[in-house]
Symmetry: C2
Subunit: 194 residues, 2 copies
Amino acid sequence: MAVVGRPRSDESHRAILQAAYDLLAEDGLSGFTFERVAARAGVSRSTIYRWWPSKGALAAESALRALSAEVAFTPGPSPIENFRRRLQFVAAALKGRTGRIIAGMLAEGQQDPETIDIFAEGYLEPARGNLRALLRQAIAQGQLRSDFDVEMAIDVSFAALYHQLLLRRPLDESWVDRLPNLILSGSLAGVAQA
Amino acid sequence: MAVVGRPRSDESHRAILQAAYDLLAEDGLSGFTFERVAARAGVSRSTIYRWWPSKGALAAESALRALSAEVAFTPGPSPIENFRRRLQFVAAALKGRTGRIIAGMLAEGQQDPETIDIFAEGYLEPARGNLRALLRQAIAQGQLRSDFDVEMAIDVSFAALYHQLLLRRPLDESWVDRLPNLILSGSLAGVAQA
């Protein structure tokens, strides 16, 4: 039932993302339907279908958009410092409504693998890209060794923040700052491993 | 309706844990009831209530017991090597039925905070204790610096393994081994941070 030839309306697009975000933050994924989003945004269901193939895709995009809007991110003087700030920025978002949406998608995804794929592609990959760029910059500027395991550092960073979120543990600034301390500074006292 | 004065039967205790584990692995937490566990273990519901206050507590203990039984753990020559082996051991368990049970508890816990508390106390804390003992040994033997952040290393270790589990990513040996490489060896090239 593709509707072609009509210009994309930025205003309804934004209204749909906002309505989706509000509904998700209120009720989570369980009561999240295109019908309710359409009613709240004042558009027809077919308008939503034109832009999003599934409710998971809409949920992921609304959470990602909120993440980039809801907390002010101020760049610092170096890539490493920016990496630290970016972790605090993600943690701050997870403490609010974005965190509830992400926890809901991860929970739902244990019954429904498609939700996980959509979360990974629509939300996590773009968010990972921000950390990757900073760590590569740090390597290029000699702040990190060239053999630093960038991908594992990114895995561990999101893993640690989501772990706190899912276990309902505090995501306070002092805890979040211990994460880059551990993964960037290292601690083996120069003794060769067995 | 406490039943007192009857001796604890090790055989029914074991049968209940095994039945709980089998049911969880088959259907997850959603269809998990004391009634079904009782029927499968050939005991009465009141027998289960004598030992476990809630289905979450029973689920957590059955997963923990399975984790210590299902994979052979062979200690290595040093605490650091044992830490590496312990991570592989947990990862191997997560690839099987124990992983499905844990993913189910974390998912259920997003609607029901008590499940998270029970998971944290009944499963995660004992599992964390194993890693803590090894890292403290490594510090005592001079393999790790005395200011190594043991608690954050443990947070990050379980977080990373659960992240792979929940995102349905592979928990293969080479990936798991990059985790201690990152958190133990460090990589800052000696440049002071901003």
